[in-house]
Structures are given as C-alpha cells and as structure tokens.
C-alpha cells in the first residue's frame, strides 16, 4: 500500500505536536466533515430515519398501540390528528395506521436500498478493477457488456424481469443489485487505468506481487474514498427506483408495506385522502436527499480540490 502520513506517524516515536493528531486521509476527511454542518445534519437525519424504522415494532407496541396490519373500517380515511396517536398521519382505506405502516415501509425501502447497493458496488468495483488492470480483451468484453446493458432503458429491463418473475423482496434486491452497476464499473475502470501506471504499482510488480494482490492491496485502497461517495448516491438512486417499481405494482408487493407501494395505494383515492400521498413521498424524498447530501459532503471532505465545484 502507498504509505500514508498516518503510517509514518504511527511508527514515528516522536509525536509532532499539532492541532490535529494525525493527517491521514480518513482522519483528515473526518476533520473536514465535522465542520460541514449540512452534511453532519444529513447524517443525523439519516441515522434517525434508520433508527425509527428499525424500532418500528417498539413504536407499534408502546407508542401507537396499533398493529401495522390492524384494520378499523370505521376509522378509514381519518385525517392526520393528535387525539388518536395511531392516526397521527391519518389512516388508509381500511383504517390502517399510516404512521406505523410508514415505519415498517422504511425498513423495507432502506433494506432494499443498502443491500442492493452493496451488490452493485461489489460487482461494479470488481469488474472495474479487473477491466482497468487487465486491459486488452477482458476490458473489451466488459466494456461491450456495459454498452449493451446501458442501451436497454433500465426501467424497461426491470419491468420485464419483475413482471415475468414476480419477485419477492429478496429476489428484488438481487435483481436491482445485478442491474445498474455499470456506472460504478466505468468509474473504477477509469481510476484503475490511471493508478496502474503509478510508481507504487510498478514497484509492487517488481517485487513480484500477483495481479490480484496489486488490485486489492494497492489499487483498491486508492479508489476506496470515491467508492464511499458513489455508495451514498447509489443507495439513494436505488431507493428511488424501488419506490417507482413498487408504485407501478411490480416491486415490493402488498401487504408488505414499502414507501412506494403505499403511494400506489394512496394514489387510487387521493380525492378522498390526499394526505396519504404526502407522507410516503416526503419519507422517500428526505431519505434520498440526505444520502445525496452525504455523498456531496463526502466528496468535498475527501477531495478538497473539488470543494464547492458542484
């Protein structure tokens, strides 16, 4: 690995007194990130959203005292209100509590977003490293495959797959993960092209390091900061796609609530209860906004040259 100043500081017996303990890439980035109030706020909101969704069963039992599948036909289309805490955000067409379902929907939407992004990143980064490092025929093959995938409108492709296979939540995560990694691959490939010509890679090769070792131990750590930026944006993008698919009725299928399928449900009777359309959308928007802002903030923190550039 390219020796960073942090490594030197770690082995150096003399500690240099300075305002900051170490000036490694990550601690340096963290130092900058801490000062970026917008990004810190986004992280806080996102963590809050994750915690709220994770704690959905607790809220269900102790705060709202209303099961997420529980119905109350007489209480259908209730307006958002404070008198009945379970109808804090109103109730749907069969009197289910909107707020409890939103919390459970959050579990699904966030889970799909993070897991599918993990699959995308794994595929995208590995293929990008391989294409960029091996070059030649391997690179040509991967690039051609990407050209083809990019030439099918993503939603059309997802549409036929989901419509023909009617997947459950887990299969949907895999499908979303298997599509949409092309941008990550192209980015990592470009970075690898440049990095493989650097002296530390040549040095590693001269001491006899294998191709996979160079890719994983020497090139990957240098691409890693960018991958974190891509990851934040990627999760946001996937949550948007999942919500669109679920809205179309081919993503997460009811009765499992997801923010997308709650919207598709609510869209059917928004002349009766327009507020049901508002809250799931706000949740999606807020989550994705936080993720995008975190992505922007990470980029500024990790690469100060780009600060304020876009």
């Amino acid at each position: 690995m390219a020796t960073t100043t942090a490594d030197i500081a770690a082995v150096s017996p003399v500690s240099v007194p300075s305002r900051r303990a170490s000036a490694g890439l990550w601690s340096d980035a963290w130092y900058r990130l801490k000062k970026d109030r917008l990004t810190m706020a986004s992280i806080a909101v996102l963590v809050l959203l994750i915690l709220l969704s994770a704690a959905a069963p607790l809220f269900e039992e102790h705060v709202f005292k209303f099961k997420f599948a529980q119905q109350d036909l007489l209480g259908a289309y209730a307006k958002p209100q404070l008198e009945k805490p379970e109808y804090l955000l109103g109730s749907d067409e069969i009197g289910r509590s909107q707020v409890v379902r939103l919390l459970y929907g959050g579990q699904i939407s966030l889970l799909v977003g993070f897991l599918a992004a993990f699959i995308q990143l794994t595929i995208g980064v590995s293929l990008g490293l391989i294409a960029g490092y091996k070059r030649g025929l391997v690179d040509d093959a991967i690039t051609f495959f990407i050209t083809v995938l990019n030439s099918i409108p993503t939603l059309f492709l997802l549409l036929i797959i989901t419509a023909l296979f009617s997947p459950g939540p887990l299969t949907l995560i895999v499908i979303l993960g298997l599509i949409g990694w092309t941008g990550i691959t192209l980015f990592v490939r470009g970075q690898t092209f440049a990095l493989r010509e650097r002296e530390f890679v040549t040095a590693a090769r001269t001491v006899g390091a294998s191709g996979s070792r160079i890719m994983l131990k020497h090139i990957l750590p240098n691409v890693l900061p960018f991958i974190f930026i891509l990851a934040a944006i990627d999760v946001g993008g996937i949550i948007l796609v999942e919500s669109a698919l679920s809205y179309l009725g081919i993503g997460i299928l009811p009765p499992t609530p997801s923010w997308g399928n709650m919207l598709s449900n609510a869209a059917g009777y928004f002349n009766l209860a327009w507020w049901l359309v508002v809250s799931p959308g706000v949740m999606i928007f807020l989550t994705v906004l936080c993720l995008y802002l975190i992505g922007d903030g990470l980029r500024d923190a990790l690469d100060p040259r780009l600060r304020g550039a876009s």
């Binding site: 083809v148 030439s151 549409l159 036929i160 919500s243 919207l263 994705v288 550039a309």
Partner: protein, 319 residues
Amino acid sequence: MRTYVIRRLLYAIPTLVAIATITFLITRLAPGDPIRLFTFGATDLTREDIEALRAAHGLDKSLPEQFALYIVNAAQLKFGNSILYHKDAMSLVLERLPNTLTLAVTALVLQLVIGVPLGVLAAVNRGKWIDNAVRFFGVIGHAVPAFWFGLMLIIIFSVTLRWLPSQGVLTVGKDVWDIGDRLKHLIMPAFVLALAGIANYSRYLRTETLDVIRQDYIRTAEAKGLASKTVFMVHALRNALIPVVTALGGVLAFLISGALVIEQVFTWPGVGQFTYAAARQKDYPVITAGVMLGGMLLVLSYLIRDIAYAVVDPRIKVK
C-alpha cells in the same frame, strides 16, 4: 466525419443483437408457458389443437432454432402478434411512439431552456444567494421521486385548483389539432419528467462555467481588452456548453426510462405505459417489442450524442 458516422453505425449492430439476445433469454427463462396462458380457460381444446398452436408460434422447435428464427424476425422488426390484441406487436407499440417522443422531447427542451441558464447564472453569481438557491435546487430536484412529484402536482393543479387535466393527451371530443388543449395536457407530465434533468444541467453548467472562466485563454481575452460580456458570451459559454452534449446520452436514457413511470402517473398513452400494461398481462410479443423499441431509441440517441460530440469537440475524432 463520414467514416466516423459509418463506424459508429456499425458499432450499433452488435449492441442491438445483444439487446435482442437478452430480451429473448429473459422471456424464455421466465416461468410459465405462453401457450398455456394464451389458451387459459378454453376447455374444448384438444391436445392436437395445442400442438398446432405451439407449431404456429414456432414453439415446437429447439431453443437454438427458436433463437435463430427470433433474430431473423427481429431484424425485420417482427416480434409476432400481440396475444391480447391479435395485431402485430411492433406496429401496436409504434402507434404509441409519437406520444412518448412528444413527452420526451418537450422535457428535453425544458431541461435545456431552464437548466442551462440556471447553471450559468449560478456560476456568474458565485457565492451569492442565487448561487446557493440553484445549488440547493440542484440537489432537491434530484432527490424528489418524480412520480410522487407528479401526484402532488395533480393534487394541486387538477384536484384542488382544477386548472389542468390530470390524464391523457387530449380531451375527449376535442379536435385532434387543438394545440391549446394538447399543451394543457402536456405541461405537467413534461415538467415532472424534466425536473431531475433541470437539476442535473444546472449542476453541470455551474461546474463547467466556473472551470472555463478560470482558463488561460479567458484571461488572454480579457487582457486584450475585450468587453467582459463578449468574453463571456463568445469565449466562455461556447466551451462551457460542451457537457450539455456529453450529458445528452445519460439524459436521454433517463427520459426514455423515466417516461415509463410518468406516463403511468398521467395515463399518457405512450410506449412505456403500453409496455407496462402488456407486462402486467404477460403479453410477451408486446413486451419484447416495447423493450426492443426502447433499446433502439437509446442506441439511436447515443449515436446522435456521439456525432454531436464530434461536431462540438473535434478532438474526439482522433481517438
């Protein structure tokens, strides 16, 4: 230039073949027998009838044979008859193409007309409130789920204010050439479809303009004593506009894909909405035709982008 265009055209052929292969594989790998589905509920069919149907659709042949036949037919844009409509699938999809194109092109124009000036304005006023507002919008416009934004607009402008129609391309009974009525139907879906692109373009243009005005030749132009307006309009803006063309590929992909959802929200009778309906009914020929048409549109728009790029930035042809 001509050789470049021809070479690019030839590159498109393997891509199209590969797209056709992928759609073939997905539809064939899917569980369920199309003939079973086709004849579902028909009790008076004999085994021979089913075999005859199978043969009529070419499903009695081996998979490689089916594939060869499929590719030959696909090259002639034949994807078989729709199971629901008993008409040629591709011509059914093509009937919806003008509507999708109207929507996508209007959205593209809106993106350019609104997004580009916003980005330039932000760059010129760097650090001022207008810059912050544009940057803020640049993130927000990206994070809003487009279909939800569409629903909200329908609630506001159709349900509450009753200003704009919420669905279709034309009021029933109106003259086909009633442009005013068509525009009223078009404005909401087109704007919703354009939103993310407007945000994108304002970001690109801001970055690019800031980048360009730092270049040496801009300083040279200013040193020559040119008016700052001339420097900006003639020297800076022309180069800042290059990413408008570069981004076109992704933008068009987004428009064609995004149109599918937006068409559904506004019941806009386009290719996406039709393919979606077909997918729900498992109308395989129409699904294949719709996906292939989407793919062809994309390949075509990438082609247009690359040619436009070569025109705008002559360095690209060297590669």
